[in-house]
Every structure is written in C-alpha cells, then in structure tokens.
C-alpha cells in the first residue's frame, strides 16, 4: 500500500481553505485536531472525520483525511455505523451545539449507551452561526437574538452534566483559546477505547462573542480531581459561571464495536445452499 508519511500538523491540512470568520474559535479547534493527529501519527487514509451541518461541521473539508460531511444532526449515527463496519479506522465526529445538542441531541443518548469507540469534538459557541445568530440550546436563559427578541424563555443545556448522566465513558472540556491543552484532550479522547465526548468552548466573534468572558472565567479542573469519580465530576459540571476545563471522567468498559466483532469472529463464508436447508 502506498503511504504518505504525514508527521507534521501541516500534513493534515487540506487544500480547502476554512470558511470561518476571522477570530472564530473553530480555528483553534482545527489546529488542535491537526496537532493531535500529528502527535499520534494517524494515517490519513485510515482516519475519518465525520460532521453534520453548521459552521463547525465544515471542518472535515479542511483536514487531509477521509471526511464525511453529513446531514444536520447526523454526525453521530454516521460515525457509529462507520465504526461498527470498520473498527480498524479512527473515527472522529465534530459538530456544533445546534448540530449535536438540538437537532441531533437524541443520538447522543444512544451513542453513550453503546459506547462505540468514536471521539466527539463538540464546538460550542452558544449560538447558531451559519444561520446568523439565532438562539441555541446552550444559549443562556434570557439571551436576546432575532429568534428570541424578548429573551430566551428556556433553560440552558449543560453538555457535560448530560454526558455524565448518560455515563459517557470519556468526558472532557476544552477551550479553543487553549489549543495545546485541547490537542492533548483530543489525543486522549481518540486513544480512549469507547465513546469520548469533548465539549469545546469555541466562541463566535460575529454573532455572540463570548471570547472575553471565557478567557477570564475558564478554570482548569483541580489537579487532585479523581477522574473515576462520576459524582464528583457531576459536581464540577454544575459550575457554569466558571466553566471547568480538562478531563472530568473516564471509564474503560465494553465497546459495542469490539463486542460485535468478537461475535463475528467465528465467520464462515455464506453458502446459500446450506442456508436454505432450513426452509425445506
């Protein structure tokens, strides 16, 4: 097999130029992804970046690996189907808060239960950027936008608490302005055998600029936090004024893709004549 030796972050950069506004947090996330891939020397032709629809979901086009820029909300089922069929591949799903927590929120529950070995990088800017600034599930209550002219009347979605409550086996949060730490988390997430959920604070400078706020409020998870303690992790997740970044929780347990392939090991080539005997 011909193989391109891709060792530096630059080698994961595709010829398609990002479509994001200047100052978009997603640039930081993209760089963290390049860096983590280079750090792990992931073979580009054995890596697939899957996304849905949204500003952040354009990301696969900018990465020189396989990519699957799917439908709005459907990054997780696409990624899971792919990993079930091809457990040998590295599968990373990326998307925004609208994609993963609104239209595609239902899939999160089942991805968590199956614990299929994929890594999700959820770029959260608390707004709908691609459609020009409507409210999102992660927008704060009272948030005034063109779709909430009288202020948002709903509660704010808590991605980390949700992931923990679903017993996701790897739960972390990063910040796009801390790309080094984020790259380390992405790398850890990819290495984790199971469903890895990385919530990334990634501001939108155009429609809801939270950059300055997050720069002052983001707080590293205390060094003594026990990442096997889900209750403690849940407590940390409840802190929304000073969002914690780092690894909240990690647990190794059976993944559905590995278990399914274990089942499929005693494989015999299919023979229709033998199969049809049951119908005689």
């Amino acid at each position: 097999m011909s193989q391109v030796m891709t060792l530096t972050p630059k080698d994961y950069k595709s010829e398609v130029k990002p479509t994001w506004c200047p100052g978009c947090g997603d640039f930081g996330v993209l760089n963290a992804i390049y860096n983590s891939m280079a750090g792990m020397k992931l073979a580009p032709d054995q890596t697939v970046v899957v996304s849905g629809i949204g500003c952040s979901s354009r990301l696969p086009h900018f990465v020189q690996t396989f990519g699957f820029h799917s439908l709005h909300g459907r990054a997780l089922p696409v990624a899971q189907g792919l990993k079930m069929a091809r457990p040998d591949l590295t599968v990373v799903a990326v998307g925004g808060d609208g994609d993963l927590f609104s239209i595609g929120a239902g899939h999160l529950i089942h991805a968590a239960l199956r614990n299929i070995d994929i890594t999700v990088v959820a770029m959260d800017n608390e707004t709908y950027g691609l459609t020009k600034g409507q409210t999102s599930p992660t927008s704060p209550t009272g948030h005034t936008t063109k779709s909430t002219p009288y202020g948002l009347l709903a509660s704010q979605f808590n991605p980390i608490a949700t992931a923990l409550s679903l017993n996701v086996s790897f739960v972390a949060r990063g910040f796009s302005s801390k790309p080094k730490e984020l790259a380390a988390l992405v790398e850890q997430g990819i290495k984790h055998k199971g469903f890895s959920f990385i919530h990334v604070l990634s501001p939108c400078p155009t429609f809801y600029n939270t950059m300055d706020v997050w720069k002052t409020t983001v707080t590293p998870i205390p060094a003594d936090h026990d990442t096997r303690n889900r209750f403690k992790a849940m407590e940390l997740s409840m802190e929304t004024e000073k969002p914690f970044v780092g690894l909240f929780y990690q647990e190794e347990r059976q993944t559905m893709d590995a278990a399914a392939h274990q089942l499929a090991q005693q494989t015999k080539p299919f023979d229709i004549n033998t199969y049809m005997k049951r119908f005689t």
Partner: protein, 590 residues
C-alpha cells in the same frame, strides 16, 4: 377439485389460528404440493380477529385464490367476517355447533365439536388447533403423518416442548381424524392425493429478503422495529455475526439510514429495512446518498397509509414517494419484487445496482408479500454473481491521479483524487478508507470532481448531469421486463409489485375464454425500462393498470411519461387483488 383446495381458517388471534395454518401449509408443501398463503393480522398483540388462508395445489399457484373452498370458523365472528369469501354452491363450511349454528345457505356443512374434542377427549384445551388440523387431514388431506412430522419438528425447537404436550398433540390429530371419518359423510369433492415430491423451499417474502441480503454479502444492517419489516431486522441480527457482518438496532429510522451510509462509506455492503412512517423519515438521507454517491439498499415493506394507516394491511401506495422522495432532483433506483423468489434474486440485483451505480436503491415489497408463504423451486435460490463498486485504479478506470495506484509515494497534488470524476457512464471510480493513500470528503453540498464544495453554475450543471447519467446508463444495462400472454393481444395489463401472480392468472383465464390479453410487469421502476414499456403500449389497443392504491400511482407515472390513457383498476381496502377481480376488469373493457 382433485388435488387442489383453498382452505381458510378464521379465528381469534392467540388461539392458534395462524400457527395451525402454518403447520397445514408446511405439511402440504413437504408432502409435495405447491402452496401459497394469505393471512390477516390484527394490529394488536393479543386478541382480535385473524384469518389464515392456504391455497394448495399439485400445479404451481401464483395467487391466493378467488374464493375459499373450505372455511373453518373457530367462532361466530369468524363466520360473519369470512363467509362472503367462501365459494357459492359447494363451498365447505366447518364449525363447532357449541359455538353457533350458521345459516347454511348454499354450502356443504360439517359440524365438528372442536371444543369438546379438545376438552373431553384430549383433555387439553390448547390442542384445539390440532383437533382442527386432524379434521382437515381426515376430510381433505394431507395425511396425519405429514402434519405430525411438522408439529414434531416445530415443537422440538420450541421452549414449550415436552413429551406430554407432544403426545396430546398427536392424540388430538388422531381423535379428530377418527371423528370426521366415523361421524361425518363426506359430500365435497376436495381430496389431496399423493403427488410426486419435488425439491422446493417454503418461505415468506421477508425470509427471502434476508436470504438475498446474505447472498449479497451484506456487511452491515441498521434498522428500527416497524411492522411489517421487523422480521428482516431480526433475521439479520441473528445471521450477520455468523458471516462476519455487524448489526445495529438504531434509535430511529434517521439513525438507521445514516449509520448505513457511514458503514457503506467504509466499504461495507449496507442496508436497512422499514415501512411507511420510517421510510418517510429516511427522505433527507436518501438525498444525501444520491448526492454523495454512496451505495445503500433500503427495503420499504409497504403497508396501508397514509400516516400510521393500517400497519398490518397491504397497499401499494409508496411508489410515487419512492420515486420522488427527498428534495431537489435526486436520482435513485427503485426495484419492486413480485413474489418470494424475486425477494431473493432481486435483492441481490439491488445490492449490485447500488454498488455498480453508487446510488441508493429502494426495494419496494409490501405487507402481503412479507408474510405470504410460497413453495418455490429450490433452484431459484442459487448463488448469484456479486458486483463490487468500481475502485479507483482498477481496470485502468481512473480519475486524474492515476499514478496513485502504482505503489509509489504520492505528490501533494496526487493524494487528493478526483472522487467525482466525469465519466461517460456517470459512474466515478471510488475508494474506501484504508485502501490506499487517497482520501476524499463525502458531502451533501454540491462539489467539484475532488469533492470540494463548489457552487459555480457550470459545476452544478455538470455534476447534476453526471449523477443523472448513471440512471441512463443503468436503463440500458439492467434486465428488461418480459411480456406475458398473447403476442397479438388487444388488451394489455401493466402492473408492478406483488400483484403479478394474480394478473398472470387473470391473463390465463381470460385467454382460455378467448380474449387476446398480455401483461407486462416491470420490476425496476427507476430507471423505467422505457423501450419495453413503449413497445408494449404500442402493441395493444387498451391498457389496464391494476394497483392496490387509491390514486393510481403507476398509471399517473405512465400517463405523465408516455401520455398513456390507461383504464385504472384500484383496490385500496388493505387486501390484495384476486385473479378474479382482474379478470372481471378484462371482461369489462372487452
């Protein structure tokens, strides 16, 4: 009639009506007869009226039969619901006088105390359906031994199996046979004699779909439970691991189809199976598959709509939707099997079409076909050729970066390959992750030959033409429908889907009566076999289009496409056509 009888059993769901019928059909088939079953189900799990009909003949049978020759009523309601389908003048009516006494009319009646025989003679009321089978055996055949063998093989696989139950079942068969032989005088002509045994298999449409998928080397299935398609999911859940494949019960039909697309992108031959409501949910993803040119097979086991409709009833009302679902101009292929054998062979074809043309293929069965059991020549289930998608670098069919496959390192330009290269056929060579160093991004955005987003008018125009060119290519390459009946017919019938058998039997009967009739039954409905349909229409004076739907969906299509003014025969009560209904339509236009 000698060696042909249609028996209907009407009863309450849960009291063994269906399982008794199943045993009868299997016993007759194993004894050497052709069988064809038709059943109704209540939508609820427990209770509700149901019926099972089996047509048994020493000659091949293509439809469920116009009437029941024999009606067995396990209660009064079964009589009220089914008596209108019992043959006038000489139909046989069997009932338990402790349940009710029917107004016999023109029928031959055999009162048999099923309840008493089960309760007092066998002393186990659950054997009532065995008592019924013993009576059928004694009156018409097949022999009790043939039935006993089936019961034994079924019970041996059952968790309820125990020696006492087996003994009681056998006793029930014997008691009933004895009763009808000694207490009744046979006044009907129906008798199934011994016939030569043949190498046949006995199965329903859903089982044949599963066999076809496995023979197609399906590598991944994802689905969500829905009547009447769940059997396919359950069958593949069991079988896939044994052939190295994987299975996913998805959280909804959107997840089912999109995970199928993910798996197919990874190179696995992938499919899902659903019915109306789930099929509707798959619209958007079907468009994606068409746009990103990802192979997938989607089985839609049609049921009566709209909306939740009648989940356990038959209808052919998803054709228009299957042909047009998803926004935008979206090429897709549609295959409609006509019988159980087709569910196997056309499933293999559907997979080959999906892979060859890199397009979603919709496989339109329907509720009656999913559940009906047919005896089919074993040879219909032979190994069939499997086609794979054309890979980049294979057979010299390359896009731009042909050097990539020759094993040497790729330059920066080469390792982006022209995934969507323009070709004469419209089909671009593709690749899968891990097959080489070339990568690409599948996207639902309009894209250039490299898969990069592109909104230029020239690009969109050329890509649209390329995608649709695949349909034109397929129309040339795919098998054509064969005319059935008279070469010099004046009346032509065009049908689709599971009605073929009834149509062909009607054509046979009409010809026997001196009418000049022929039928055409296209099994690929996208791309339509243009030439075959035009020639057929031109060759006859009148075209009848029978469909089990309200709006005449095939008639609308052929009207729009060929200007055809057909005579529409529509049935939409949830029950398939009988041959007699189509024969009447032929007689009316003559």
């Amino acid at each position: 009639m000698e060696n042909e009888v249609t028996i209907r059993i009407g009863g309450e769901s849960g009291e063994g009506t269906i399982s008794g019928g199943d045993i009868l059909a299997l016993a007759a088939a194993r004894w050497g007869y052709h069988v064809y079953t038709f059943r109704t189900f209540p939508a609820e799990i427990l209770g509700g009226p149901c019926m099972f009909q089996v047509r048994i003949s020493d000659k091949p049978v293509k439809s469920m039969g116009d009437f029941a020759d024999v009606l067995i009523c396990l209660n009064k309601e079964a009589f009220d619901r089914n008596v209108s389908d019992l043959r006038r003048h000489g139909g046989v009516l069997i009932y338990d006088p402790s349940d009710f006494t029917p107004d016999a009319g023109d029928f031959i009646t055999y009162p048999i105390p099923f309840n008493d025989l089960a309760r007092k003679e066998v002393q186990l009321f659950q054997t009532k359906n065995m008592v019924m089978l013993g009576a059928i055996s004694g009156l018409f055949g097949p022999p009790v031994e043939a039935i006993a063998q089936v019961v034994e093989s079924k019970l041996s696989k059952s968790r309820k199996s125990n020696p006492i139950l087996m003994e009681k079942n056998m006793l029930a068969l014997e008691v009933a046979k004895k009763y009808v032989t000694e207490q009744l005088t046979k006044r009907d002509p129906h008798r199934l004699g011994a016939v030569e045994k043949a190498d046949r298999v006995i199965l329903n449409g859903n089982q044949a779909v599963v066999a076809g998928a496995l023979a197609s080397h399906v590598g991944f299935f994802a689905g969500y439970p829905i009547t009447p398609a769940s059997d396919i999911m359950e069958g593949l859940a069991k079988e896939l691991p044994q052939v190295g494949g994987t299975f996913l019960q998805a959280e909804d039909e959107i997840a089912a189809i999109t995970s199928v697309l993910g798996a197919s992108f990874g190179g696995a031959r992938s499919m899902t199976a659903t019915s109306g409501p789930g099929f509707s949910l798959m619209s958007e993803a079907l468009g994606f598959a068409s746009m990103a040119e990802i192979p997938a097979v989607i089985v839609d086991a049609q049921r009566a709509g709209p909306s939740t409709g009648m989940p356990t009833k038959m209808e052919q009302s998803d054709l228009s939707f299957a042909l047009s679902m998803s926004h935008g101009d979206t090429p897709r292929m549609v295959v409609a099997p006509a019988n159980v054998a087709d569910c196997y062979s056309l499933m293999v074809l559907a997979f080959n079409m999906a892979e060859r043309y890199q397009m979603p293929v919709i496989f339109l069965t329907d509720q009656s076909l999913t559940a009906r059991v047919e005896s089919v020549d074993h040879s219909a289930f032979r190994p069939l050729e499997i086609e794979e998608r054309i890979k980049f670098g294979q057979n010299g069919v390359n896009g731009h970066a042909s050097a990539a496959s020759n094993g040497h390192a790729l330059s920066e330009e080469e390792h982006v390959f022209a995934r969507y290269a323009y070709t004469a056929s419209g089909v671009s060579p593709t690749t899968t992750p891990g097959a080489g160093a070339m990568t690409y991004v599948a996207t639902g955005l309009e894209h250039d030959i490299y898969g990069h987003p592109n909104y230029e008018p020239e690009d969109h125009t050329a890509m649209m033409e390329k995608r649709f060119r695949k349909l034109a290519t397929a129309a040339e390459e795919l098998p054509k429908p064969q005319r059935y009946g008279d070469e010099d017919a004046t009346i032509g019938i065009i049908g689709w889907g599971s009605t073929e058998g009834a149509i062909q039997e009607a054509v046979d009967s009409a010809r026997a009566k001196g009418y000049r009739v022929a039928s055409l039954h296209p099994k690929i409905l996208s791309p339509l076999p243009d030439r075959a349909i035009r020639e057929f229409i031109r060759s006859v004076q009148t075209v009848i289009i029978p469909e089990c739907n309200y709006s005449g969906q095939l008639a609308n299509l052929l009207g729009a496409k060929y200007g055809l003014q057909a005579i529409r025969v529509n049935k939409f009560g949830g029950i398939p056509f009988t041959a007699g209904e189509i024969l009447r339509a032929i007689e009316e236009v003559s």
